[in-house]
């Protein structure tokens, strides 16, 4: 039964070209109903460009894109009526109060005023903003603004939520609060497409991840699988490793990264390598920890700074 339903997003060979620069280069992915898909990638990887094509803001240069089984190029109006978008940059309406931001936005969806008001009040309670409903949005803190943007994206009761870096620039408290709300929405069955630079956010919220760089997909898969495949199970970080250790690591073909003043060794399950390392090569300069998504990300996209 479930397979009969079209995927919420089906992107095939998407391309986006700006002049002679290719921002999105042949990207294909699917988002299934009720799923949270994370789009990861360094600055300029092409995440926002991809997302903007999905919600019909930006015309694609090539490829095909279906949302809810509908073609984005022709059915953009019905598609946009069914999705909620949280842009990367804040674009709340500074001329309107907190409540008006929601009610006026509901107007763009032709939601009757009375229904809009009820929904807005409910959403403000959900986002713990009901005490602030008459305030100017410019008086809100960063965290509150982000929650308001999220509330605004939910005003049309969307089936798909598109979030472009929903927690960038927030303090840990606000970030956790946003995660909690997103988790709640996910549990209610909302499909979510999310971009983020926080690996913790991606691994805890997303069912599946797509890591892109330079407009191309590097890998996709479940967070745990990606970690296992690309960073193993456990990691030992050695500060100022001795030459003896470096030779050992190289001769025994361990998965590793040799950084200035730091060596990272990625170990597979039960390979017993860490015990040997611990006995023969390590003193206080070693830390053993679980492999994380951040290891995967850095291994795949490199450690060089982006412009």
């Amino acid at each position: 039964m479930k397979d009969r339903q079209p995927p919420v997003i089906e992107a095939r060979h998407l391309r986006k070209v700006f002049g002679d620069f290719t921002a999105v280069d042949d990207i294909s992915f699917r988002l299934h109903r009720g799923e949270c898909l994370g789009l990861l990638g360094p600055n300029g990887a092409g995440k926002t460009s991809t997302i903007r094509m999905v919600y019909g803001f930006s015309p694609m240069s090539a490829g095909s894109l279906r949302v809810f089984g509908l073609d984005v190029t022709t059915r953009w109006r019905s598609i946009k009526a069914r999705i909620g978008v949280c842009h990367q940059e804040n674009n709340l309406d500074p001329d309107l109060s907190v409540l008006e931001n929601l009610v006026v936005f509901a107007g763009y969806f032709s939601i009757p005023r009375k229904v809009a008001k009820e929904r807005a009040e409910k959403l403000l309670r959900f986002m713990s903003l009901d005490q602030r409903q008459d305030e100017k949005v410019t008086n809100l803190s960063g965290g509150m603004m982000r929650r308001l943007v999220l509330a605004r994206a939910l005003i049309n009761e969307p089936e798909l939520l598109i979030l472009d870096e929903p927690t960038t620039g927030l303090d840990p408290q606000s970030r956790h609060q946003v995660w909690e709300k997103l988790d709640q929405l996910r549990a209610e069955g909302l499909s979510i497409l999310l971009t983020t630079h926080y690996m913790e956010e991606a691994s805890s919220l997303c069912d599946r991840l797509v890591i892109i760089d330079h407009g191309k997909i590097l890998v996709q898969g479940k967070p745990k699988e990606l970690i296992r495949q690309h960073a193993g199970r456990d990691v030992i970080e050695v500060f100022n490793p001795t030459n003896k250790l470096l030779r050992f690591v190289e001769s025994s073909r361990l998965m590793h990264d040799n950084l200035p003043r730091r060596l990272i060794i990625y170990g597979q399950e039960n390979d017993g390598i860490f015990e040997r390392l611990g006995e023969h090569y390590c003193a206080e300069n070693c830390i053993r920890r679980m492999a994380t998504l951040e290891d995967v990300f850095l291994r795949l996209t490199g450690r060089d700074l982006r412009e």
Binding site: T74, G107, Y108
Partner: protein
């Protein structure tokens, strides 16, 4: 570009108008002050000060007071300013600084609807400011009724014309400061040379021809005729000019904004 093809203009553009109206309502007192005070200042300065120098002037074979000559010009300039400045500076702030258009484009509206909503709003501001100013000018007995009532729909049409021009500049200006250029090159010359403060037939023929190309010239002519209660075929020509002018500039505005925002 398929994204823009098909049914991309519907009545939904009124939602954008509505948004601007809600914001306007909040500060309506400040918005109403200029159209009340401006004619008072001008009528005072030109009527009492300058008018005594000029005395009466002959217009369309009638001898009229100088204030009666400039009052329609003040109304016309007010229409031009309200729409043009709304669709340049104010629209630019919404588009560029507040990212309001970006936010709206994630909803079922098309960019064309957003821009048409903005132009309709600029025209509405022209209409509202004209209604207020018309009240003030009428109190001086400078408007003939019922002809004068036609100035209200005229102010909306003029608002569309000048708003569409403003929107084109909003689509192409790199920064907000650059609006100085169209103001300096178009708005100010029109303000002075559209038969506003002196009759055009005092000018050499070539200058009259240049003035005949200005939309404000036609607007002033029609408004003046309505204020004086003179009915003439020439006014139909003026209205026709404003309609054609609008029909040319609206698509240009849509094109300019698409080129700027759809990427």
């Amino acid at each position: 570009m398929n994204l823009l093809a098909g049914r991309d203009v519907t009545w939904r553009f009124m939602r954008v108008w509505q948004r601007n109206f809600i914001v306007y309502r909040r500060i309506w007192k400040i918005n109403f002050l200029p159209p009340i005070l401006e004619p008072l200042f001008y009528l005072l300065a030109f009527g009492l000060g300058f008018g005594s120098l000029v005395g009466k002037i002959v217009y369309q074979g009638r001898e009229i007071q100088y204030v009666a000559f400039i009052a329609p010009a003040l109304l016309s300039v007010n229409m031009m300013y309200n729409a043009f400045f709304e669709n340049t500076y104010a629209s630019f702030v919404r588009m560029y600084y507040q990212k309001t258009f970006d936010a709206i484009m994630a909803t079922p509206l098309s960019l064309r609807e957003v821009i048409l909503g903005e132009i309709a709003w600029g025209a509405t501001k022209s209409l509202m400011a004209t209604a207020v100013m018309l009240g003030v000018v009428s109190a001086f007995g400078l408007v003939a009724y019922p002809h004068g009532l036609l100035i209200l729909p005229l102010s909306f049409l003029a608002g569309v014309a000048f708003g569409a021009v403003g929107m084109v500049f909003t689509g192409i200006t790199p920064t907000i400061d650059m609006f100085n250029l169209p103001v300096f090159l178009f708005i100010t010359p029109m303000f002075l040379f559209s038969g506003t403060f002196f009759p055009l037939n005092d000018l050499p023929t070539w200058a009259q021809k240049v003035a005949a190309a200005f939309p404000l010239t036609h607007l002033v002519t029609v408004t003046r005729g309505l204020c004086l209660g003179i009915m003439s075929r020439d006014y139909l020509y003026g209205i026709f000019y404003l309609i054609v002018f609008s029909l040319l500039w609206i698509p240009l505005a849509l094109k300019a904004m698409e080129r700027r925002l759809i990427r």
